[in-house]
């Protein structure tokens, strides 16, 4: 029964579209989907977004589905759900039960259409009929080799696919039946029906971990969460080869979206959270530190659970920030001193606790953390603030919260943009870096001169030639660094390795440590030397360490290296981009001369003979040398 709310939203969308007010139309379409996520609404939501397409930025993604059963009814639901998360998906369903042929056939659409993500959705009764209906005929337990045969088949399929395609691969686990065919006897013996299917699923995880960009989607757990009795629908299986009930279509689409958002790079890097009635129950300005509630008692428990979920995000490499309308001292006192608080001031990479507009504060936080506003997720219990952000900053992921706070943690845990398929060491350390950076900035403010601040920082810089272990990180820096990047040339790991092998080319990683700890690899230097001329191909420093004179140390190193090798001229390009303002004066500041300038491109050169780029007195530079060249002095 279409309720009044949905009906009003449909009219609102229609009116907004007629007035070309796409921000409101988009917000209303998103609310309609949140209110009534069903097969019928899906088509309407898609149609609305189709009409807005030319105005709103949507990220495209191509998805291929290899399957053994009917999944078509999920497509509109997935498309509608994805659109409300800024993803415009094209979904190609392979022919029914042709998944194996499709993977093994080299010229199949699944390869030629170059999808971004491919999903293998196979039902237990199709890939392992002996473990489903077969047992009813032959009786149990299942012969042990049956599970092995199925996993071997999966392994072959995955290996073949991986050789022929770079697409991210998602593999469904096999569904267990609601009840084992042997009843409770099944659990009592080895290689029972459930035992065998669980073995396959366990091995499927092991197989996936052996391959790059292959991930397991636990379809069986999904059925379990939903409730297996309600999940299956024999009636639709018999009439349409649809093994699940209509109500199960939405959970399948939602689960796919959890994987597709991170697989397609639609991720939030920062969670910006409100404080009052979001992280704790109560208003700090009225109730005081002793009056707010967070903890294991009933009223405070949902808020503690939310804090747990948020802290979990930090372990995934997602930065945390605060945007709250409060007096800063009071709010800080609550975070620092409340005995039950799980989130503490040091967990946050940035905060704006003031009486400004939230939109203003979100922009300020994005600027401070050097991320685009489209990398922000926004958490606030106040629906008015959420709507404001939706309208003013449609690129921000606004997390919808239920009225009851006991659903808050779940909302965080089910936000696709906050999911990650893998976490690198750098990701995990990132939060710590930013927290330390805040302390550094405080320290900078406390030092009278920059020089005394630099000395106090005790920076140690290590420059080393490219190794197998550092190639991925160097490629990542070329891909992600926008500000202190002289030429903004992007390289994949493969290209970095190839480049290093080309004549005259040298690639160095720059590692920085300081008073606060190890920053890891923060810079890249790529040079090409031909006879007496050395050209700097790439000069990159992570925004975490800019304006700390590490770039001078890098040039000291390069100049000395050129001197000992008889190079006469060092030159480098500055290619201006909208984002690389900080790097533009790099060569000029270090005594290079401008040789040519055209549009945003300028070429700078320095004659090695007589040139001086002294190492800053506050930096300790070490060079990990390759074996062919001896150490040389820098001072």
């Amino acid at each position: 029964m279409t309720d009044a709310g949905a009906h009003e939203l449909r009219s609102e969308i229609e009116n907004c579209l007629r007035d070309n007010d796409w921000r409101r139309a988009r917000a209303a379409a998103t609310r309609l989907w949140q209110l009534r996520p069903s097969a019928a609404t899906a088509r309407h939501v898609i149609a609305c977004f189709e009409r807005m397409r030319e105005w709103i930025p949507l990220q495209k993604g191509r998805i291929g589905v290899l399957r053994s059963f009917t999944l078509e009814p999920t497509v509109p639901i997935l498309r509608a759900a994805a659109l409300t998360h800024g993803l415009d998906l094209t979904i190609q369903m392979g022919p029914l039960n042709a998944y194996a042929q499709q993977i093994l056939e080299q010229r199949d659409d699944i390869y030629t259409q170059t999808p971004d993500v491919v999903i293998i959705a196979v039902h237990t009764r199709d890939i392992a009929p002996e473990l489903w209906t077969g047992l009813h005929e032959k009786g149990g337990p299942a012969p042990p080799q049956q599970a092995e045969e199925v996993t071997a088949h999966f392994d072959t399929l995955i290996e073949t696919f991986r050789k022929q395609s770079n697409a991210t691969l998602l593999v469904h686990t096999l569904e267990k039946p609601a009840r084992a065919f042997d009843g409770i006897l099944d659990d009592q013996r080895s290689n029972g029906q459930i035992d065998a299917i669980e073995k396959i699923n366990l091995e499927l995880r092991n197989i996936a971990r052996r391959y790059r960009d292959v991930y397991v989607l636990d379809y069986d757990a999904l059925a379990g969460r939903f409730g297996r009795e309600r999940w299956t629908d024999e009636r639709l299986w018999l009439t349409a080869k649809l093994p699940m009930s209509p109500a199960a279509l939405l959970p399948v689409a939602d689960e796919w979206l959890q994987f597709l958002a991170p697989a397609l790079g639609r991720v939030s890097k920062v969670l910006v959270t409100d404080l009052d009635n979001t992280l704790w129950k109560g208003v700090i300005g009225e109730d005081g530190v002793d009056g707010i509630q967070v903890g294991s008692d009933y009223a405070g428990a949902p808020f503690l659970e939310l804090q747990r979920a948020i802290l979990g995000l930090r372990h995934r490499g997602i930065l945390l920030a605060i945007a709250s309308k409060n007096n800063r001292e009071e709010a800080y006192a609550a975070l620092a001193r409340h005995p039950n608080m799980l989130l503490r001031p040091e967990h946050f990479a940035a905060e704006r606790i003031n009486w400004e507009h939230k939109v203003h504060n979100l922009r300020a936080i994005a600027a401070e953390l050097n991320v685009g506003t489209d990398s922000l997720a926004f958490l606030d219990d106040n629906p008015v603030e959420r709507d404001l952000v939706r309208l003013e900053m449609p690129e921000v992921t606004v997390i919808e919260l239920p009225h009851d706070a006991s659903g808050y943690a779940q909302a965080i845990r089910c936000t696709p943009e906050l999911q990650r398929l893998r976490v690198s060491d750098e990701d995990v350390q990132r939060s710590r870096f930013y927290s330390e950076e805040r302390e550094r900035n405080d320290a900078r403010a406390n030092h009278q001169t920059l020089e005394s601040f630099y000395h106090w920082l005790e920076q140690k810089v290590d420059i080393a030639p490219l190794t197998e272990a550092t190639a991925a990180r160097l490629a990542q820096l070329t891909q992600k660094t926008n500000q202190f990047n002289a030429t903004t040339k992007r390289y994949t790991e493969q290209q970095i390795v190839e480049l290093a092998a080309s004549p005259g080319c040298e690639i160095f990683s720059v590692r920085a440590k300081d008073h606060f700890g190890d920053n890891g690899i923060v810079g890249v230097l790529i040079s090409r030397t031909f006879d007496e001329r050395c050209e700097i191909d790439s000069f990159i420093l992570s925004c975490r360490v800019i304006s700390r004179t590490i770039e001078t140390a890098m040039l000291t190193f390069l100049l000395e290296r050129c001197r000992t090798r008889g190079v006469r001229t060092v030159q480098g390009w500055i290619v201006a981009t909208p984002k690389n303002e900080p790097v533009r004066t790099l060569y000029e500041k270090h005594g290079f001369t401008c040789m040519s300038r055209e549009g945003g491109r300028s070429l700078w050169a320095l004659e090695v003979d007589g040139a001086k780029v002294p190492l800053p007195a506050w930096i300790e530079l070490t060079v990990t040398e390759d074996r062919t060249v001896g150490d040389f002095a820098y001072r």
């Binding site: 029964m1 279409t2 069903s38 097969a39 019928a40 149609a47 639709l236 649809l242």
Partner: protein, 87 residues
């Protein structure tokens, strides 16, 4: 006489078959709606079951071939309006 069911029913037909709601009549059928193939028929069944919280038997699924027939089958399955909570 138009009951609320009729309105929401027509909207489901319009949404599923992607046609303007005005173009749907009580006797629209697979013959008159071009996009009404077997897959869309399944989608119609799923939308109806979800929207009205009912279940059709395989026999009934075959008979759901116009808004009028759907409405008649739904009338048998849905509780009488008096029994429904007020808005």
């Amino acid at each position: 006489m138009t009951s609320p069911i009729d309105n929401s029913l027509m909207r489901i037909f319009a949404d599923v078959f992607q046609v303007p709601i005005e173009s749907i009549s009580a006797d629209s059928s697979p013959e008159t709606i071009e996009s009404w193939d077997s897959l869309q028929h399944l989608n119609l069944v799923l939308a109806l079951e979800q929207e009205f919280s009912v279940q059709f038997t395989p026999d009934e699924i075959e008979k759901l071939v116009s808004p009028r027939l759907v409405s008649a089958l739904l009338a048998d399955k849905l509780p009488v309006p008096e029994a429904m909570p007020c808005q």
